[in-house]
């Protein structure tokens, strides 16, 4: 039997599912036919100070992640240090973007499946409170991104070395108030997700995430895994490789000497649980859901926990914030630089070679969904064992839900 989902709904970008069920095999292929745009190719010949603006356009959901990662890679190449102020603002910016993206994934893209609706638009009448909560929280997250970045989609203030303009003290204080006002909503979100029935599917595989001793790693740390990986950004290409696959415009990543792996909120919590905020940890305790957890459907719950943590973490940064007037003179220097950060969907890698005129000579970018594409298929093959005697419609929906648990950003993965 062959089941085809030509265009998977409620994910970003164009992908399909091709499911084969027979006595001999159970196979699910994630057909990624989103058109490539060849960013790594046309970045060659562009200048160091416009990289962030260009790579931002890889994705409209996670532009901030590409902006910050590329800036850090360029700064790494040219030997530029950033101030504590810039680090703090970039952290709040990144976390506001995570919150926004997670809310999109939880409420708009995934929850309808669990409540029996085809979209959150259809659910708006009978679940007005839930939809209002989602919109309210998302507005706060986007507003904070805009207060630091100028606007939510493709922010404009981030530059090599810092920002063109920073929020005022009054605005920073307002951000804290806005975050406090959605804290309760965040806990409600975690409660809601922990109350839903998730398919009982688990497949132990290698989970990979950025990790840092002192904080829940977003913009800095080493890349670690549940199977002993522990590398710096500069060594990424010694350990993680990609191969072309016929049915996907996104390359499939794998770890040298090993196999596929998973990145994302579930991997992050599996690896960095102890760095979550107290309230985030408390919410996990209350739920009865245990970590480490290898059921990809619990990624939804992981996103909700992260939202709680990010709210707390941003408030902490704001409370300790010290303003300082900064003007940076950037000296162009040739160099090779890289950076790995945690985008909302998982680990993101940027690498640049810059010549002495500040022109890009080479670029290498691997977004989280490219890291995940191969693992999604391995999960599909295994998940089908639980589904194969269900009606076709049900198999299709359940497989889509597995894909949506990964919250794929297909345009990113192809770039």
């Amino acid at each position: 039997m062959n089941i085809e989902v030509p265009y998977v709904a409620r994910v970003e970008g164009k992908g399909g599912l091709n499911i084969s069920i027979s006595k001999e095999k159970l196979e699910g292929n994630f057909i990624i036919y989103e058109s490539p745009r060849f960013f790594e190719s046309f970045l060659i010949g562009r200048k160091y100070d416009e990289v962030m603006e260009i790579v931002s356009r890889i994705c409209g959901i996670c532009p901030v992640a590409h902006q910050i990662t590329s800036l850090q890679a360029v700064e790494n190449a040219m030997g530029i240090e950033i101030s504590e102020q810039t680090e703090g603002l970039r952290n709040i910016l990144a976390m506001s973007a995570h919150i926004q993206s997670h809310l999109l994934s939880i409420y708009f893209l995934s929850l309808p499946d669990f409540l029996g609706y085809e979209s959150f638009i259809s659910m708006a009448n009978e679940h007005k409170d839930i939809v209002k909560r989602a919109l309210r929280m998302k507005k706060v997250a986007n507003d904070i991104t805009a207060m630091i970045g100028g606007r939510a989609v493709h922010p404009v203030t981030c530059i090599v070395g810092g920002f063109t303009s920073i929020p005022s003290i009054a605005e920073i204080k307002k951000m804290k108030k806005m975050l406090e006002e959605i804290k309760e909503d965040a806990i409600e979100t975690a409660n809601l997700l922990s109350s839903l029935d998730m398919p009982e599917f688990s497949r132990k595989c290698e989970h990979v995430a950025l990790s840092h001793q002192k904080e829940y790693a977003i913009n800095k740390g080493s890349l670690k895994s549940t199977e002993g990986l522990d590398i710096e950004a500069k060594d990424y290409r010694k350990f993680i490789f990609e191969r072309k696959v016929e049915h996907s415009n996104a390359l499939h990543s794998f770890i040298k000497g090993r196999d596929s792996f998973m990145v994302g909120p579930l991997a992050r919590i599996n690896l960095n649980f102890n760095n979550l905020s107290d309230d985030a940890e408390e919410a996990v305790e209350q739920s009865g859901i245990s970590f480490p957890n290898f059921n990809p459907f619990y990624s939804h719950f992981a996103r909700a926990i992260e939202i709680i943590h990010y709210i707390d973490s941003c408030i902490e940064i704001i409370e300790n914030f010290k303003f300082k007037e900064e003007r940076r003179e950037i000296k162009i220097k040739e160099g090779i630089g890289s950076s790995i950060t945690e985008a909302p969907r998982g680990s993101l890698y940027h690498f640049y070679v810059i010549n002495k005129k500040g022109i890009i000579e080479k670029a290498d970018i691997v977004p989280p969904t490219a890291h995940n594409a191969y693992n999604i298929e391995k999960d599909l093959h295994a998940f089908l064992q639980m589904l194969y005697d269900m009606p076709e419609e049900e198999i299709a929906l359940k497989c889509e839900m597995l894909v949506r648990a990964y919250d794929p950003c297909i345009s990113c993965s192809v770039h």
Partner: protein
Amino acid sequence: MKTKIGIFKLTGCSGCQMEILRMEDIFLKLIDIVDVSYWVMVKRENEMQWDISFVEGSVSTAEEKKEIEEIRKKSKILVAFGDCAIGGCIPSIKNFISSHSFDGIEKFVDVDFTLKGCPPSRENIISLLINLLKDIKPRIKKYPVCVECKYKDNACLLKQNLPCMGPVTSAGCGALCPSLDRICEGCYGPMSNPNVESLAGIFKQMGLSRDDIIRKFRKYAGTSPEFYKEAGNEY
């Protein structure tokens, strides 16, 4: 009967769709007024019927060419939604350095309205939609970013010897970047009848190289008739 809206994606980043989701404060009102009949990023059940279509993204494959032709056939009104749909936007840089092409949809179908920007601001989207629903001819801003800068009493960045693209760039963003001490990079594309040669000459006087100037004009709207010469003219 509510007007049916279809939202489509070709080759692009989904940023324009995300700007629709940026209408958090009025979203419930919006879905009350219109029937979003096709939006695969948000809905699992989609109708193959719509009155007004918003198409995000450029055409870069044969399949997409077929897709836009089908969308046009079924649409009463077709909106080129964002810079990619207008002229390819940032990926169109590739057009100048290879035989691969990212084309605006107007190359293949008639377009009724365009929403400029990367992304077009939510205010511009709302304004166009309201006009279309009320059957009022939308007012299209043809003046440059400079006008919006002046309204905000910004200190002119060109006067500070910075290579701002404002004078040739279409208004609509509220002079977002110059208001945040960043030079305009031209992301809304050309205004009407821009004096591109003059601005390129000013950039040259500021010390920008020929390559610097080409990069600036090529970035967002290099494929536009107004910018293509300063963008390198190989397209």
